[in-house]
Symmetry: C2
């Protein structure tokens, strides 16, 4: 009987192994994709692309049985050769090719030069060719940084006693409502795709006190803007026993501090590739919604048209104000008008036209919505009544209040938006692997 007992050591080395081991002068094996080939008379430089980075291989004459002219870009290969120190090569070494084994060959040459440093193609083309355009060094660096954000989010919340949850994305109709929901037929019942794990994460606060989820959410927004996606990854947290929504802002700030530190420590290579700086999140200013509107109106000479709404341009100006006045890329805008918030938001007991809630703006773009939620059964019924909502539609959600819930609050972060602002991209599609928008369902 054959037995499998775990990952076996392979002869083929990674970049880190070559760098950290004592391989100078020794013959090693490495694999990768042929990124570029440069012929310089008798010598050819073959650059391999690996997840970790690039590797320079030098071929003088032949490399085993393979004629270097038969090698094509995007061939997957395994090379064999001696390691030589070379300051000008990536990672400070090169491989003197002795042999190449071609593992696979492309059937055609790339329609766009993914091996160029910058893909000078339109966003439209990049997205249409996403399966291959992501192979570009700069394109893929963005999503490596996105990985770091999610990793930092989870790791920080684990350290703060949160439990990770997995909640359903196919949900019964009539939950939060609104027109921006995707509908589907679920075995002859009407169903929707979840716009947010809101009800479920609140439910799970009754179970684990503090919970988080990192999962897709779906919004059938009909507008095609630079900051909307119809499917995105939402970083959600919800926490019980809070003294106020300030506890939620504290938690987000702590999380952002942790994330930026993780990126600095472990994603420096990608930040360098993108020439991206990390924002200072040691302290984030917090300003009331009505106050923010006044500050912006005063400084930039802008009329307040609607005191209960924030226009995209106002968001930008608030961002600008806090950058100019306090040097901060982030600002918490608190006490949003009740009208603009869902029924489960807790109204400010001092003025019920406003809520105990907040948005976090990052360079003038909303990247988080959060706040304290109603936890009392009678209070939530009353608020639903005022909005002509029928408790029967969401009975299983109301169950948690009926049988007791601690005071709690939470937030949801749009991962792609956060990444977009961090990397100073102008379109949220740049920081979504395979974006879904009104006209885009593929790739």
């Amino acid at each position: 009987m054959e037995f499998i007992s775990g990952v076996r050591e392979k002869e083929v080395l990674g970049i880190q192994e070559v760098i950290s081991g004592n391989h100078e002068g020794r013959t090693v094996r490495m694999n990768g994709t042929v990124h570029t080939i440069r012929h310089m008379g008798e010598v050819a430089f073959v650059i391999l692309r690996k997840a970790e980075g690039l590797v320079q291989c030098v071929c003088e004459g032949a490399a085993g049985d393979v004629d270097i002219k038969d090698l094509k870009e995007e061939c997957a290969v395994e090379v064999k050769g001696a390691v030589r120190k070379e300051e000008r090569a990536p990672h400070g070494f090169e491989i003197r090719l002795e042999d190449i084994r071609i593992l696979s060959r492309p059937a055609d040459t790339m329609p766009i030069p993914v091996n160029k440093w910058k893909l000078n193609t339109s966003l439209e083309t990049k997205l249409a060719l996403r399966p291959i355009s992501l192979r570009n060094i700069r394109e893929r660096a963005k999503f490596k940084i996105q990985e770091g954000i999610v990793r930092g989010f989870r790791d920080y919340l684990f350290s703060q006693g949160f439990t990770e949850i997995h909640t359903p994305k196919i949900v019964a109709r009539g939950a939060e409502g609104g027109s921006n929901v995707f509908k589907l037929d679920y075995f002859n019942k009407k169903a929707e795709l979840g716009q947010s794990p809101q009800f479920y994460k609140q439910t799970m606060v009754g179970v684990y006190d503090r919970v988080f989820e990192t999962a897709p959410v779906f919004r059938a927004e009909k507008h095609n803007t630079t900051r909307h996606l119809n499917e995105y990854t939402s970083l959600d947290l919800e926490m019980g026993y809070i003294d106020g929504f300030e506890d939620v802002m504290d938690m987000e700030t702590g999380m952002l501090q942790y994330v930026m530190e993780l990126l600095r420590k472990e994603y420096g290579k990608e930040l360098d590739i993108l020439k991206a700086g990390l924002p200072d999140v040691s302290r984030i200013p917090a300003v009331r919604f009505d106050e923010a509107k006044k500050l912006v109106s005063g400084k930039y000479n802008r009329k307040i048209r609607n005191p209960y709404d924030l226009e995209p341009e106002e968001e930008l100006l608030i961002g600008r104000y806090f950058k100019e006045e306090y040097g901060s890329d982030f600002v918490f805008v608190t006490h949003y008008p009740s009208k603009k918030r869902p029924f489960y938001a807790m109204d400010d007991p001092e003025d019920s036209r406003f809520t105990l809630s907040f948005d976090l703006l990052f360079k003038g773009l909303e990247v988080t919505t959060g706040g304290q939620r109603i936890h009392d059964y009678h209070a939530i019924l009353e608020k639903m009544g005022k909005r002509d909502m029928d408790p029967k539609d969401i009975e299983s959600y109301l169950m948690i209040f009926k049988y007791g819930m601690p005071p709690h609050g939470g937030l949801g972060i749009g991962l792609e938006r956060l990444t977009m602002r961090l990397l100073d991209e102008q379109n949220v599609r740049e920081t979504c692997m395979f974006p879904r928008d009104v006209t885009r369902l593929e790739p």
Copy 2:
């Protein structure tokens, strides 16, 4: 201007803080939900439920202004009192109540006794009341262990150079096909919910060499069985530059070893609550599909009805065989018939009726499907041709082969099934927070 600078230390302590700090005899504050109240003449015992566990509070006479008779189960409270060593109490201490602050009250008493050790209610009732039945100590322990599995999966793969990806769940129609897909209208285009991130994870191997995703998948299976869900969490990985599908099995085994070790180290409390043992995964037997059928047929006197299919009962018997003969709860069954595998599976070059693929059975239940994939453009076109598939339907997927892909393979693990077998549950709904099945769309 107010600034937010991270999580502030609170006066309210957690269980670990009380245990590890020097709090004996000192007055502390703790919060939690009233789990049970026991009146014993002059003395009342109030047990608090926290995410971390239970806390025993003792009330002699009054506790501040609160009459203990006013306290109800599922009240959220903050208590104040002196810590006293008490071997018989959970975690070895109790709180001598000096004051109670009631943070919230339930509107009604629980319809089922969630504070009992075992919820002696039917699965049907448990699921209908899921938002509150999950508060039961044993119920919630299951999902804490599930968290550990996902955490271990991710952490191990990070250590092995994998990159985490987020791929869309709304996909164009005509991908893998089959009847078990949920269809939806996407701005007047036909769309589906992804049954698997298969195409996307393969695509991302061309970008990052090794990738994983932990996300929901959707299957419109019409059968209501104890092992099927219509939405579940899939733990997916895909890796390039493999020498064969054995590399994928090696990776899964290494991952399982890491997960079991993590559960042993950090989830011992939950394993104890559920009296769950951890399986030995130091080595996992691997047997060919046709061989496994013969072994089972021989030992258990069972006729082989269809040499190209595995019936659920056969799976169970294979599980039993390897438990009896080799003491293993797991077994890899390899070389599945080509007919039973999707078009992208790589056929065995030695016998194209079979594929270079595997399932992992855990106590006789398939918890993983994996294998090597076709990476050559012409080969995949040829296989599609044999199955009368139209390349135009999946052009953006085929793009990756056209422009070159390394040899690769991967797997998908059903999280709820893995948890189910680990905890010896008889129904996969027991290990899904909010299961979706043919009749269940809520809660």
